[in-house]
């Protein structure tokens, strides 16, 4: 009869030395958020004396394409992967593929949906916490009362759901003083839709709104610009530290922003991937690690980078002492 070959071909983790390790950092597509990965990658390569670290953003926000990109990289000899999964729902399958071939895999900047992470570890912003902090910052900027609007991305994305929950939590904590007037989803696809949505929103309810909290990039840019143009006294909390947003904070049109830690994700991720290649194992496979989030306002716009480097160092230590088991 016909039999299935037994599942014995899971290559046991081959150990490699640093000069054999080629790390690929694969974001979900082109996005400003990932740009720091490029320099972080180059830096990790020289600091850790790795064979190569590459950055490939050609996935185009399509899981099929990303799988293809990852496989092509593997065929090219890359043997450790840090991946931002395009679709958190089926990225675990891709992680398993890579694991089966004996490659260490990190889920960077986003964790798979559900409670299971099939990558070795996930190093990502705790998006719910970040959104919570952002909303808190907004509440504070609004003087603790008024109407808040939340602008965010793809509604049917588990991360968006987490962000909505985070904002809701912060609003609930005000005990009704701040009302979440509206949550506008699906405005992150392209800048112009975001601009249009913000203009329409401000036109419809501008005078009732005291604060806008953004948890996606395009709406953040659009809201900062839109509020400035409409000359409304609305406090905008943006996301990330794109030049346009930092400029906004400096000129006061943006009340604050919530930073994530892309550099930390890339450098610490690369470090851990190297350790795994050298033979370390995860003490808790699939562990989810928060890479940190930081509220930046005019007060600390000059100094936030220090906090972030501190967090990165702390993360690396935590991996050494806590998450990795070497030896």
């Amino acid at each position: 009869g016909c039999t299935r070959k037994s599942e014995n071909d899971t290559s046991g983790a081959t150990t490699r030395t640093a000069d054999q390790v080629k790390i690929a950092l694969v974001p979900g597509g082109a996005h400003p958020y990932f740009q720091p990965w490029k320099t972080a990658a180059a830096q990790a390569r020289s600091e850790l004396k790795l064979a190569d670290v590459t950055f490939n953003e050609t996935s185009g926000w399509d899981q099929t394409k990303q799988n293809d990109v990852v496989r092509s990289l593997a065929a090219q000899g890359y043997n450790a992967f840090g991946i931002f999964g395009v679709s958190p729902e089926n990225i675990n399958a891709s992680f398993e593929d890579l694991k089966r071939q004996g490659f260490p895999v990190a889920s960077l900047a986003s964790c798979p949906a559900g409670d299971v992470n099939k990558a070795d570890f996930c190093l990502s912003t705790d998006v719910e916490l970040a959104a919570y902090k952002a909303a808190q910052a907004a509440v504070q900027a609004m003087g603790g009362q008024g109407n808040l609007v939340h602008l965010t991305g793809n509604k049917v994305d588990s991360n968006t759901q987490r962000r909505i929950a985070g904002v809701q939590k912060a609003v609930d904590e005000t005990g009704g003083k701040v009302k979440l007037l509206q949550t506008v989803t699906d405005v992150d696809k392209d800048l112009q839709s975001a601009q249009k949505a913000v203009a329409d929103l401000l036109a419809a309810k501008g005078t009732q709104i005291q604060g806008i909290v953004n948890t996606a990039y395009n709406p953040a840019v659009a809201a900062a610009e839109g509020v400035k143009q409409a000359k409304l006294p609305i406090k905008v909390i943006a996301i990330d530290d794109d030049q346009t947003i930092l400029a906004g904070i400096r000129d006061g049109s943006v009340a604050g922003t919530v930073l994530q830690n892309p550099v930390g994700q890339a450098t610490v991720g690369a470090y851990a991937l190297l350790k795994l290649s050298e033979g370390c194992t995860m003490s808790q496979p699939g562990v989810v690690v928060d890479s940190g989030s930081f509220v930046v306002t005019t007060a600390n716009v000059a100094s936030y980078e220090a906090d972030r480097s501190a967090k990165t160092d702390e993360l690396r230590k935590a991996f050494d002492s806590q998450y990795l088991r070497c030896g």
Partner: protein, 355 residues
């Protein structure tokens, strides 16, 4: 009675009035041109990146991808036969995948039953488009574009309602095998199969069935005749409206199959299935020599066209181009491939004229 008429016509001469060559020369066959181009590209990519011939990491996934996009191309081909378009192929695939996922999630049906349910949903959606087109006479482009819009909304609404996010968490038994295994994993005693992914036969079967349909069955031939000249078809006793509905239903069904194959390849029934189907759905058939005018299709050409696009994509990926260059080169290579066919055509016509 007498009437002034000319002599009865001479018996039909065996020799044609014009010496038209009965067969097109082999080199002028568009499929042959495609194969040559394909081989050339494979040689080029292999020379630049030997990893192109890596079985596990390149060739096996390449076969899976070709399977998906060949079926996507066939889904478009089914309506190109009519001279119409299906702008909603991707969304029909997504709806079909949703149905399969839902059937498993709620009823726990086995894989094959889920597949059948999915295909039925795809076919129904296609039939709906066909019905609107044939009853109202509104252009297929408009109808399917509008349907696409409506379905984008509907799909996400449905996924939000029936799942936690954009995908069904569970997977029917067999999905993982379909995704990961090749026939090499199945052995009869010592003899194992070739390194061909399990999804390939599904796509091959679809291609064969579509080829058979258009070549040998009455319905398929009548669809083509409707595409060639709908008025003449109607006046020849073909129920043209039914044929339009059937061709669109077939398109929906094949879109559903493509969605299923993609879900198997990607590992989940999710809302994003089919997002990227539209462009490849046209490239496969058009590169394969199927015109947008209707009345003629090439199934083999479509499979070759899909293969060509996937090989291009894979090769460029291996060359590790950055996003801007990647897009640029894909567009350029496609333009060249399309123009080559045109050059071949012109040369063939010149030669034919001189013959």
């Amino acid at each position: 009675m007498t009437t002034r008429t000319a002599a009865p016509e001479a018996p039909p001469s065996a020799t044609p009035p014009s010496g038209r060559p009965a067969r097109i020369p082999l080199w002028a066959n568009p499929r042959v041109g495609l194969v040559v181009l394909l081989v050339g590209l494979v040689v080029l990519f292999t020379a630049l990146r030997p990893a192109f011939l890596d079985t596990t990491l390149t060739l096996v996934p390449l076969q899976s991808d070709i399977s998906v996009y060949a079926v996507v191309g066939l889904a478009q081909l089914a309506v190109l036969s009519l001279g119409q378009m299906n702008m909603a192929v991707g969304r029909m695939a997504a709806m079909s995948a949703f149905a399969t996922g839902l059937a498993y999630d709620r009823l726990g049906v086995p894989l094959i039953v889920g597949l059948i349910i999915g295909l039925a949903v795809g076919a129904l959606l296609g039939a709906l488009a066909g019905l609107i087109i044939s009853r109202t006479g509104v252009n297929s482009f408009v109808v399917t574009l509008a349907l696409d819009f409506a379905l984008v909304g509907l799909i996400t609404i449905l996924y939000t309602r029936f799942t936690d996010g954009v995908a069904f968490a569970g997977q029917p038994a067999g999905m993982t095998a379909l995704r990961n295994d090749t026939f090499a994993d199945y052995c009869m005693g010592e003899i194992c199969g070739p390194r061909i992914p399990l999804v390939v036969p599904l796509a091959l079967a679809a291609a064969l069935a579509v080829g058979l349909l258009f070549r040998y069955t009455r319905v398929g031939r009548e669809i083509l005749m409707t595409g060639a000249n709908s008025r003449a078809a109607q006046l020849s006793g073909i129920p043209t409206r039914d044929r339009v509905v059937q061709a669109h239903a077939l398109s929906g069904l094949l879109a559903g199959l493509a969605g299923f194959l993609l879900a198997a390849n990607n590992g989940a029934f999710s809302a994003s299935i089919g997002d990227q189907f539209l462009l490849p759905s046209f490239l496969g058939p058009v590169l394969g020599g199927t015109l947008l005018a209707g009345g003629a299709v090439s199934v083999l050409g479509t499979v070759l066209g899909a293969t060509l696009t996937q090989v291009i994509y894979k090769g460029l990926n291996l060359l590790q181009f950055q996003l801007d260059q990647l897009k640029l080169y894909i567009g350029l290579v496609l333009l060249v491939a399309l123009s080559l066919d045109r050059v071949r055509h012109v040369v063939a016509e010149r030669r034919g004229a001189r013959a």
